[in-house]
């Protein structure tokens, strides 16, 4: 089977999927939309570094509360910057097949794939329109550099909050 046809067949079949059925499959797919994990509440106090950092900062003459605040601020800032780096180096991959596919030329293949179910030409048109919209979305996202810029841009607010928290803790300490 030619590559283009096989890819289209796979995608058509995937559209018929109703999602995971097993508990482990559901558990795994529940994490599909997880991007960077920065919305989850971190527990710095139970980490190994926390106490060591608090002790070192206390030596600089900060109060106990200030030390805890500065340490949490530093660890939180590093957490955000690590997520920033990870997002930057692994942007959403470009779907080259979808981006470069000629949807109009694929109509006979759609017809062939859908005909066993006794489908009407209307189904073929809908399928082609659906693929065309997916393709437009894919092209709008641009190449790898555009994608990584868009990905890291989403983390701006986390960075802003993290640095404000750290700066406030140091200046008020």
């Amino acid at each position: 089977m030619p590559n283009h046809r096989r890819n289209l067949a796979n995608r058509c079949n995937a559209l018929k999927s109703t999602g995971p059925r097993s508990a482990s499959g559901k558990r795994a797919s529940s994490q599909n939309s997880r991007k960077h994990g920065l919305n989850s509440a971190p527990d710095f106090e139970s980490s190994l570094e926390y106490q060591a950092l608090v002790d070192l900062i206390a030596e600089e003459g900060f109060s106990g509360f200030a030390c805890a605040d500065i340490t949490a601020g530093l660890l939180n800032y590093r957490r955000v910057m690590d997520a920033y780096y990870d997002t930057y180096i692994s942007p959403e991959p470009v779907d080259e097949f979808l981006r470069d596919a000629n949807v109009k030329a694929s109509n006979p293949i759609f017809r062939e794939l859908l005909s066993p179910s006794g489908s009407e030409p209307q189904d073929v048109r809908e399928m082609a329109a659906f693929f065309a919209s997916l393709q437009r979305q894919e092209r709008r996202k641009g190449g790898p550099v555009s994608r990584r810029s868009a990905g890291t841009h989403k983390l701006i607010r986390y960075q802003r909050n993290a640095i404000a928290r750290l700066s406030r803790a140091v200046r008020q300490g």
Binding site: E49, Y77, M81, D82, Y85, G142
Partner: protein, 212 residues
């Protein structure tokens, strides 16, 4: 010796902190470099920032390290702005004159990158010239069109650079406040010592003045 926080190895770089065992950096995750980036350049930037501080405290060193990372991100994003333009230029060229299905975007992109760097061979350069001629464009026109095409993403990168500038401002203020705090503590210690010595002189003189 300085603990190299990026690769977990020790390198011979003078550290302006008196005691390495008091450094906060080993307890913090380290800024990471991309495979094509120069570690020595990153380190020299950090050292030049640290050398501007007089006797920096471990917290100040940790903050300066974050500041250096922000500077590094600005560099990366500035390069990305140019790459975004190249990406858009390649996209426009690949679909020039309705040739979206004829030209492979990936191939055009690679050839154009070499063409712009001046490292393209004769055939590649001729190919790019041919596509430009087909689409009735010259390179500056293509660049202008690409800028328009990639404006949304270029604006995003500008936002990212602006955010790094804001972060640096926050870090600078924090470092200043640490310096001010340590100077204030030193000054108060000196004043306290002066008061104590005055007090002891007073006590001695009052003891001397007491009639036996």
């Amino acid at each position: 010796m300085l603990y190299n926080v990026h690769f977990g190895i020790y390198v011979d770089v003078a550290m302006p902190v008196e005691d390495n065992s008091k450094s906060l950096l080993p307890f913090l995750s380290s800024p990471k470099l991309l495979p094509n980036e120069s570690e020595s350049e990153f380190q020299s930037g950090l050292q030049s920032l640290l050398s501007e501080l007089d006797n920096p405290s471990p917290l100040a060193v940790a903050l300066v390290s974050q500041l250096n990372e922000s500077l590094w991100w600005i560099k990366r994003h500035t390069v990305d702005k140019e790459l975004l333009l190249h990406e858009a230029m390649a996209r426009l060229l690949a679909k020039a004159g309705n040739h979206w299905d004829t030209y492979d975007n990936h191939k055009v992109s690679e050839a154009l990158e070499r063409y712009l760097n001046g490292s393209a061979d004769k055939d590649e350069a001729a190919w790019i010239d041919e596509i430009l001629a087909e689409s009735k464009l010259i390179l500056p026109d293509l660049r202008v069109r690409a800028f328009k095409d990639a404006a949304k993403h270029i604006k995003m990168v500008d936002d990212l650079i602006h955010r790094q500038h804001q972060t640096m401002r926050h870090l600078q203020r924090s470092i200043d406040s640490i310096g001010y705090k340590s100077r204030l503590i030193k000054r108060m210690d000196l004043e306290l010592a002066a008061l104590e010595s005055k007090q002891s002189v007073k006590e001695v003189s009052s003891l001397d003045a007491k009639p036996s």
